[in-house]
């Protein structure tokens, strides 16, 4: 006789009491979103440099994806990373005056047929492919020579503040289902703003 023929009291499936079940479900609705690990996004360094009349951005992002996210990418989920860049003129007694804002977006996707990771610049349409995910992520975390503002728009004298942050999202879920993922929106993450002063 196998073990399944002699179910002990401890191994019997216990149907929870309705009240306890309801309470658990209620608590689950409140704590479920916080139960998943989040991606780590930190802007390590960022700076702008003037090159041929255009200020170009160089930034370095510390991007650590949880294992779930890596598996999701391998499974076909598209990862989207936005660099949000804002430049504003600092004013003493008034709110800062926004000069320019820019969103640089990338999509990272696994191409199963070619077994390569495709990194797509959504602003330019350029596409690169990588054989390994770390190589693709390394490229994603490294921003070099991204033109952000024409030097003519930045006058000498005032102080400007440049700030940048990265926003990670898994935004390829169809709209019809996205509201259902309301409860498990755990992949969304954003870094804190990294800001510095620009004095032309």
């Amino acid at each position: 006789m196998s073990n399944t023929d002699r179910p002990s009291r401890r191994t019997m499936p216990q149907f929870p009491r309705p009240g306890a079940l309801l309470l658990l479900c209620f608590l689950a609705t409140l704590i479920a979103p916080a139960a998943f690990a989040e991606a780590r996004l930190v802007i390590r360094s960022a700076s702008v440099a003037l090159d041929e009349g255009v200020y170009e951005l160089n930034a370095r992002l510390d991007l650590a994806l949880p294992e779930d996210a890596r598996k999701a990418i391998d499974a076909g989920v598209t990862l989207r990373l936005d660099y949000e860049i804002e430049i504003s003129r600092v004013r003493s007694y008034l709110p800062d005056d926004g000069i320019a804002s820019l969103v640089q977006s990338y999509e990272l996707q696994y191409h199963a047929l070619s077994q390569r990771y495709l990194l797509r610049n959504l602003n330019t349409g350029e596409q690169q492919d990588f054989g390994m995910l770390p190589a693709a992520l390394e490229r994603l975390a490294d921003v070099r020579g991204l033109p952000v503002i024409d030097a003519a728009l930045v006058r000498e004298g005032p102080t400007y503040e440049v700030r940048i942050r990265a926003v990670l999202d898994m935004g390829t879920v169809p709209d019809a289902l996205s509201w259902l993922l309301f409860w498990t929106d755990d992949w969304g993450a954003s870094s804190k703003w990294y800001s510095w002063t620009l004095r032309p």
Binding site: P18, L22, C25, F26, A28, T29, L30, A32, P33, K71, A72, A75, G76, V77, T78, Q109, Y110, H111, A112, L113, S114, Q115, R116, L118, R120, G125, E126, Q127, D129, F130, G131, A135, V167, D169, G171, T172, V173, D175, L177, S178, W179, L180, L181, F182, W183, T184, D185, G188
Partner: protein, 744 residues
């Protein structure tokens, strides 16, 4: 605004806020689902709003349940019914919701799993492998072409542009690059018109080449389609110089690329959905759970609310019924609906209104009855006729004051007593009650009869009528006895009759007496001298007898005349004690000679009485003569004359009492002792006491005669100090010894 209204308003406000929050959460959810970025930003708010909605519902439900439990423990009216209804409604709502929830979860689990079944996954994998195999064949062919180009270049020993162009066209590549292993381009031949500067050789390609191994990969292009990248190292080069490599890019046929794209897209989408399966299921279940919780809480709250709405009119009705039971007929219930319950409430209000009107009518009728009863009581109390009402079992129900006065007993104190138990032995009340009871017991319910009773002070004649009282049934509702003491009236009638007899006697007898006497005296004067001695003696005795008898008759006629004569009063204030002393002094010597002792006791407080002195003197004479004659021949006789200042009905009176220790009145004649011609003496007119009573009544007084307990007669007279009733005044009713009370 009162407290319940505030509570209702606050509850409605909380419910409204909760409902709005929930609605807002749903709207947010619907709106943000279209925008991933907005969704991420509003995600915490949506969570918070949903949680707040749940908390609000839980709070409301908790408050309601707490109130319900408190009402249950406090035995509040309707709390048990409400609890039962809440339980029934709640269970009825919960069971289908749980059932739907259970099946929905099962359906979701199985439905979503069925979307990602093994066959689809395997087919896609196979399609992917197939596509990949097809492409790998091409890739190997292109790699072989590139190795051929590399051998050719190695054979030639250089990479001239012409040779490179020729080789590119020969193998069908879109681009051939000869580069060092560090990536520096040495020569290039490209068929891509858009590219002036060739792309760098990727680092992974260089890494592979440094290891002297060929490289081949399939690269999807941004604009669609595929390129096959191949790279092979060139042969040995001159020592000290960098080694070279050849990279060639080949296009994939458009048809094949499109098919590969289709497979890739399907595989990618399926993989994405498959990976989202678990969070999708979790999301579905969590969403369902939230909806379930909200539905359950709303259902239970709705159950309580509905039960409250249903029970409230019942609670109002119970409270109203209690209030009506306690006599508060002003209770009005609020009409909250127009259904059957509203009809019930309307009926209740109508009932209380009718009850109040009926009570008002009853109160008015009772008041009128009380007024009538009070009026009747006053009338009965002031009535000189006795009225006694009896219960059907012959118990005294009511009696008026006159009844007590006539019967000489406090009948109002005997209310409730049986007729047979009334009065003392041989008393007037007992005799009356027995007579009436005998008639009623014989079944005679309506009669009229004149009773004659022997009371202690004399004979009493009572005219009594009995009538049955009406009742709802056939049996009488009781009896009423109406009676009057007609003794005095009869006495007055007799006196009037005797007065008329006396007047006629005086007139008819007195007139012939004088001629008789004159004729007798003439006969004696004329015949006596001429007659012989013997005849003269006869004539003398005869005429003497005639004259004496005529004188006697004359005196008797005068007495009758005096009795019948209408008196002429000369009322004046006099000292009664002096008058008594004066009259008794006249008799003192006479009675002493007869061995009778005369005692006079005078009250010094009795100063003056308004009366006719002559009539009062005659009264005293008659009483004293009566006493003296009663003591005729009796040794040791005593006569006591007493005056006192007394009270009668709140007025001061003068009392005269004459007692003797003679044989007293014959008991059977006591009732008629003051009647004319009633006497127990051998001689006398029998008018003495009759005249005494007449004088007393002329003065508004009262006279009683009875026998002393120690023997002898006693006559007691009351005279008012101030003459209120004089002369022709009607005789007063005899005074009764018992006190009289007005009935309440």
């Amino acid at each position: 605004m009162d407290a319940p209204s505030l509570k209702r308003a606050a509850s409605a406000a909380v419910m409204g806020v909760g409902g709005l929050l929930w609605l807002a959460a749903i709207l947010f959810m619907a709106q943000t689902a279209q925008n991933s970025e907005q969704f991420s930003r509003l995600h915490p708010w949506i969570l918070m709003i949903n949680a707040a909605g749940l908390v609000v519902l839980v709070g409301l439900l908790g408050a309601k349940l707490t109130q319900l439990v408190r009402d249950w423990r406090g035995h509040v009216i309707g709390s048990r019914l409400k609890a039962r209804m809440v339980w029934i409604f709640g269970v009825l709502a919960t069971l289908p919701i749980l059932l739907v929830y259970f099946f929905a979860v099962q359906f979701l689990n199985r439905g979503i799993d069925s979307w990602f079944n093994v066959e689809i996954r395997k087919s896609l994998d196979d399609a992917l492998v197939l596509s990949r195999s097809a492409l790998e064949t091409r890739m190997r062919e292109h790699l072989a072409d590139t190795e051929l180009v590399a051998e050719e270049l190695a054979t030639v020993g250089g990479a001239s542009p012409g040779l490179l162009e020729s080789l590119r066209r020969q193998v069908g590549a879109v681009e051939i690059i000869v580069a060092t292993e560090s990536g520096a381009v040495v020569a290039v031949s490209t068929g891509l018109s858009s590219e002036i500067v060739p792309d760098e050789v990727p680092s992974e390609v260089l890494m592979q080449l440094r290891q002297r191994r060929p490289f081949v990969s399939l690269e999807p292009q941004a604009g669609g389609g595929y390129l096959v990248r191949t790279a092979v190292p060139l042969g040995e080069t001159v020592p000290g110089r960098q080694r070279l490599a050849v990279q060639a890019m080949y296009p994939v046929a458009q048809r094949l690329g499109a098919l590969a794209d289709t497979v890739q897209a399907a595989y990618q989408q399926f993989g994405e959905k498959d990976y989202l399966r678990k969070p999708l299921k979790a999301s579905f279940i969590l969403t369902l759970t939230v909806v379930l919780l909200l539905s359950l809480l709303a259902a239970w709250y709705g159950a309580i609310f509905t039960a409250q709405r249903l029970v409230q009119p019942i609670q109002d009705l119970v409270k109203g019924t209690r209030a009506v039971a306690e006599g508060d007929l002003d209770t009005r219930l609020p009409l909250t609906s127009h259904d059957e319950m509203g009809f019930l409430v309307h009926s209740f209000n109508d009932m209380t209104k009718r009850l109040r009107r009926a009570r008002e009518d009853q109160r008015r009728a009772q008041q009128a009855a009380e007024t009538e009863r009070a009026n009747l009581a006053v009338i009965l109390a002031r009535l000189s006729t006795g009225v006694v009402s009896l219960e059907p079992d012959l118990r005294v129900r009511t009696a008026n004051r006159a009844a007590s006065m006539i019967l000489g007993s406090d009948l109002e104190a005997a209310v409730g007593s049986r007729l047979a138990d009334l009065g003392a032995e041989d008393g007037l009340l007992r005799q009356f009650a027995e007579s009436a009871r005998a008639r009623l017991a014989a079944g005679d319910v309506e009669w009229r009869e004149q009773f004659t009773f022997q009371a202690g002070m004399g004979r009493r004649v009572i005219m009594c009528a009995c009538t049955p009282l009406p009742s709802e049934g056939d049996a009488p509702g009781g009896f009423v006895l109406v009676f009057d003491d007609i003794t005095v009236m009869l006495q007055a009638q007799r006196e009037a009759a005797w007065g008329e007899v006396a007047r006629r006697l005086a007139h008819e007898i007195k007139n012939p007496l004088t001629p008789i006497r004159l004729s007798a005296e003439r006969m004696r004067h004329k015949l006596l001298p001429s007659m012989g001695e013997k005849d003269a003696q006869i004539l003398d005795r005869g005429t003497e007898t005639i004259v004496q008898q005529v004188e006697a008759m004359k005196e008797m006629v005068n007495a009758f005349s005096e009795y019948a004569r209408a008196p002429r009063f000369e009322m004046a204030s006099l000292n009664l004690n002096n008058l008594v002393t004066e009259v008794t002094d006249l008799y003192r010597a006479q009675v002493v000679g007869r061995g009778v002792h005369l005692n006079v006791s005078l009250d010094p407080g009795l100063t003056s009485v308004v009366a006719d002195q002559g009539r009062l003197r005659q009264l005293l004479h008659n009483l004293l003569i009566n006493a003296v004659e009663a003591l005729e021949g009796q040794p040791g006789g005593e006569i006591a004359v007493t005056t006192r200042l007394g009270q009668r009905d709140g007025d001061e009176i003068a009392e005269i009492e004459v007692e003797d220790n003679g044989p007293g009145f014959q008991r059977e004649l006591i009732g008629q002792i003051f009647d004319p011609y009633v006497t127990t003496k051998a001689k006398g007119t029998g008018l003495g006491l009759a005249i005494v009573r007449k004088i007393v009544e002329e003065h508004g007084g009262h006279i009683e005669a009875d026998n002393r307990a120690v023997g002898g007669a006693r006559v007691r007279i009351d005279l008012p100090l101030s003459a209120t009733t004089k002369g022709q005044a009607a005789p007063r009713e005899p005074r009764r010894p018992e006190p009289r009370r007005e009935r309440a």
